[in-house]
Symmetry: C2
Subunit: 159 residues, 2 copies
């Protein structure tokens, strides 16, 4: 697989995770962590399911990657995520020393990679991350739009 095909494949896998979240009525965001061409951690948002504010897709994927590699340092690992990470997840990316982040669509209200903050490239911190965005941005954003549209419809029908 060439590099571009590889990146497309891993973002597709992040989208597979996002769809899993969609199917259980979670905000549909998915992520995978990749090391040496293999997925070592994957996750989707489970906030409502587990009643836990910390189980965003990226955190679940990072925790699984730490278990797989038996190390808190995810050196030479890439993270693919459908939507721009929030502050918590950006912090987790920095704390786990991930090398590169690929995200699909921006999150203008809470994004901490480009939109509200540029945490991953902050030279004051002890780790910086290469950032790539836009891959499958439309599909990632559409899944979110569909989800919130359906949620609004459901709320209206309950009233």
């Amino acid at each position: 697989m060439n590099l571009e095909a590889e990146q497309t494949y891993f973002m597709q896998q992040a989208l597979v995770e996002a769809k899993k979240a969609y199917l259980i009525n979670e905000v549909p965001i998915g992520a995978v962590v990749v090391h040496d061409g293999k997925i070592v951690g994957r996750g989707h948002n489970l906030r409502e399911w587990l009643e836990d504010a910390t189980v965003h897709a990226e955190l679940v994927a990072i925790q699984e990657a730490c278990r797989t590699l038996n190390s808190w340092r995810l050196v030479d690992c890439d993270l693919y995520v459908t939507i721009e990470p929030c502050l918590m997840c950006s912090g987790a990316i920095i704390n786990s020393r991930i090398s590169r982040v690929f995200y699909g669509a921006p999150d203008l209200k809470a994004g901490a990679v480009n939109s509200l903050y540029q945490t991953l490239t902050d030279s004051r911190l002890n780790h910086q991350v290469e950032v790539f965005s836009g891959l499958y941005a439309d599909k990632s954003a559409q899944l979110m739009k569909d989800f919130f549209k359906a949620a609004r419809k459901k709320r209206k029908s309950v009233k």
Copy 2:
């Protein structure tokens, strides 16, 4: 207990947690989450122990509080932590809708509450947090200094 005595007590409990981390050679930071005058979550740093970059004291305490209250929304909850939270933990505090944060000593290199970022009071985000700092700052900072001094000594003796 009056309010001040209560706050002192809860910060002492965060210090108890920090000392637990110290005893197992983890960077000594501790935290408790308080709801309705009771501790509903407590935690200390377990990064090396669990080989997981995400298990900072605050995250462990927040996750336990979510389980205790069976809700990802920690409404009317306070978090006490010995050292200023990093980006990840500040994000988790915002995501879990914690009302007030009390921290002991600042973290000038990674603190995301006052030092490098002021995330908890950022009006662009969908939740803001009241912040109080300085309670047991000296004890909290001293524990960190002792830890890093001992770690340096150990490294030297290995050489």
